[in-house]
Amino acid sequence: MTTIEKTADDAVREGAGDDGTPLLEVRDLHVEFHTRDGVAKAVNGVNYSVRAGETLAVLGESGSGKSVTAQAIMGILDMPPGRIPQGQILFRGEDMLTMAGEERRKIRGRKIAMIFQDALSALNPVLSVGYQLGEMFRVHEGLSKKDAKAKAIELMDRVRIPAAKERVSDYPHQFSGGMRQRIMIAMAMALEPDLIIADEPTTALDVTVQAQVMDLLAELQREYHMGLILITHDLGVVADVADKIAVMYAGRIVETAPVHELYKRPAHPYTRGLLDSIPRLDRKGQELYAIKGLPPNLLKTPSGCAFNPRCPKAEDICRTDVPALVQVTEQDGTELPGRGSACHFWKETIHG
């Protein structure tokens, strides 16, 4: 098992490039939840890394472990029932999992911030948005209430909320969905962190507002040269903003690739299935390709490759051996930078 993880690790690390250490590196992370029905293995050995200014998209369906990984990075996992039996989360080379709580608190919010999916439930309904935005400055920087409020107005201006001065003492319910998401972004941006984790930031929004919010996020990222981890299930959003992609399935990364490569030549049957199953605006086919079956139950993930019961290419080896995330190469053996696939038959998938 450990040797398998090692090869996987290498493939990903090479993909991260070699200009300095990455901002954040997740190594062989495992997360499990102890429930009455047994142990649910939500994350089974995830490796990825993000550098400053880079956007990593983590793509997966519900239950694939993409959000749990993010929560583990932020240290907001409910423990218990959650547990991290092994793995490392390195922020600028330091393992956050072995850090003291006090040290970790210094990173959280100031260095790594998170944007949550549902802005309405992530904001406190009984406090004004100005107070909630100012909290960042009061707690982390010890500013006075008055100064914090001035900073909050500045932030709201920066995320382009009209009439920020008048609206600073409004409550979350007085804002529209898109505006609330801007406030979430403002809150994450408050201390100009190095890395932002955005967990489905636009899922609850309309397409027109979604485009506004993603543009804002991209612009702020450029301005501050931040790393961004974008967690999503929307292949369209990913294509628009990501630099590289990690596709997750049943708690593992099944494929990593730079964004253009992934869409052009997927190297894992799951990715291929996902790409084929989305209807496209500019193409109208007769029948959609559907991945058969259902996402696996994490209490009893299938043996071997977790995707094997749904895979059109599955053979005996898929039911017995867990495929490692291996470096993907061209037919002549040249390595494709940043590409990895956890499939026994990746060669056939990408070249066949």
Partner: protein, 378 residues
């Protein structure tokens, strides 16, 4: 009763309604049960309006305004086709669904089902209509009663309409339905929590099919599902349409899915229809600026196109339907808006400049300055 907006009249280009005058309830029921040829209009909506009153005061309620959720929309649904309705949240698409189901009473306007105005029906005739128009809801997690078994959920429509399946036959009928939607008939005694999202939506679809309806109204049927499961449900719905000769009204905000499944598409904005036409007309030759903005905002799952694509990013939010802008409702966010747009409400009609041409741009669009712009391929 809410005051009608002055512009709620004339929508010129919809077909003539053949109103059936049923003197007795029996005649009405007969008309409702009569078959409709494929391609003939089965549902005709005319100037449908729904205003929700806003009141003030506790004891003496005064009406201080109205939320104009649906403000004069007209369209036809033909037998065997799928009409997609798209729009942002708050544009009134779900209210339209409720009105068609007669779950809400319309403030004004008519909904003709086979020539009968269902907003005026009652008793047996209304029951017959309701049997023929069924609904599939958005969220399969909240639209199934957690305390009922799957068999009870799918069989419940038979309690209200016992003529469809006699008592002793129900269990077999439910099992048949489970089989039709691709679930194991042995699951009949299970509870909803034992199923995944996609399977639950299949249960919702089976319930919609139970009474052999002619029209199924689907309100965001796949938006709560995972991508890989969405395709399964969409394929199932397309298969069922052919098998049972159904007409769908498919309400969604995901434009790619709507295009995939729909024959015709209507775009709604703030309680009004902005543009309506066949799927190619709307997606490849949109003439209304709102449609163009909406289409250009859809993220395309192809990174190659991200540099070259022109994107129209709308500023601001949808105005409140309680106080919509005068004239064209889209003018506050429109880049083409001129004084005329504030004064005159554009009617949903084929724009004059295209009226005489054969071009696919000649479809109904409610804009003074309608012009073609391909935003999907550009």
């Amino acid at each position: 009763m809410a005051e009608l907006s002055p512009d709620a009249e004339a929508t010129p280009n919809v077909s003539e309604v053949e109103v059936v005058d049923a003197a007795t309830e029996d005649e009405a029921v007969d008309a409702i049960e009569a078959p409709v040829e494929r391609g003939e209009p089965i549902l005709q909506v005319r100037n449908l309006v729904k205003h929700f009153p806003l009141t003030q005061g506790i004891l003496f309620k005064r009406q201080i305004g109205a939320v104009k959720a649906v403000d004069g929309i007209s369209f036809d649904l033909y037998q065997g086709e799928t009409l997609g309705i798209v729009g942002e949240s708050g544009c009134g698409k779900s209210t339209v669904a409720k009105l068609l189901m007669t779950l809400e009473t319309a403030t004004a306007g008519e909904v003709f089902y086979k020539g009968q105005d269902i907003t005026r029906l009652s008793g047996r005739a209304l029951r017959a209509v309701r049997r023929n128009i069924q609904m599939v809801f958005q969220d399969p997690y909240t639209s199934l009663n957690p305390r009922m078994t799957v068999g009870d959920i799918i069989g419940e429509p038979f309690e209200i309409h016992p003529e469809v399946a006699p008592r002793g036959d129900r269990r077999r009928k439910v099992q048949e339905l489970l089989d039709v939607v691709g679930l194991n008939p042995e699951y009949i005694n299970r509870y909803p929590h034992q199923f995944s999202g996609g399977q639950r939506q299949r249960i919702g679809i089976a319930r919609g099919l139970a009474l052999n309806p002619e029209i199924i109204i689907c309100d965001e049927p796949v938006s709560a599902l995972d991508v890989s499961v969405q395709a399964q449900v969409i394929n199932l719905m397309e298969g069922l349409q052919d098998e049972f000769n159904l007409s769908y009204i498919f309400i969604a905000h995901d434009l790619s899915i709507v295009r995939h499944i729909s024959d015709r598409v209507g775009v709604m904005y703030l309680g009004k229809m902005a543009e309506i036409g066949s799927d190619t007309e709307i997606y490849d030759h949109p003439t209304h600026p709102y449609t163009q903005a909406l289409l250009s905002a859809v993220p395309v799952p192809d990174p190659e196109s991200r540099e070259g694509r022109t994107r129209i990013i709308l500023t601001g939010d949808v105005p409140s339907p309680a106080n919509p802008p005068s004239g064209c409702r889209f003018r506050t966010r429109c880049w083409k808006a001129e004084d005329k747009c504030a004064e005159e409400t554009p009617l949903l009609a084929i724009p004059e400049r295209f009226a005489t041409t054969d071009s696919p741009a000649a479809h109904e669009s409610a804009c003074h300055f309608a012009e073609e712009k391909d935003v999907v391929h550009a």
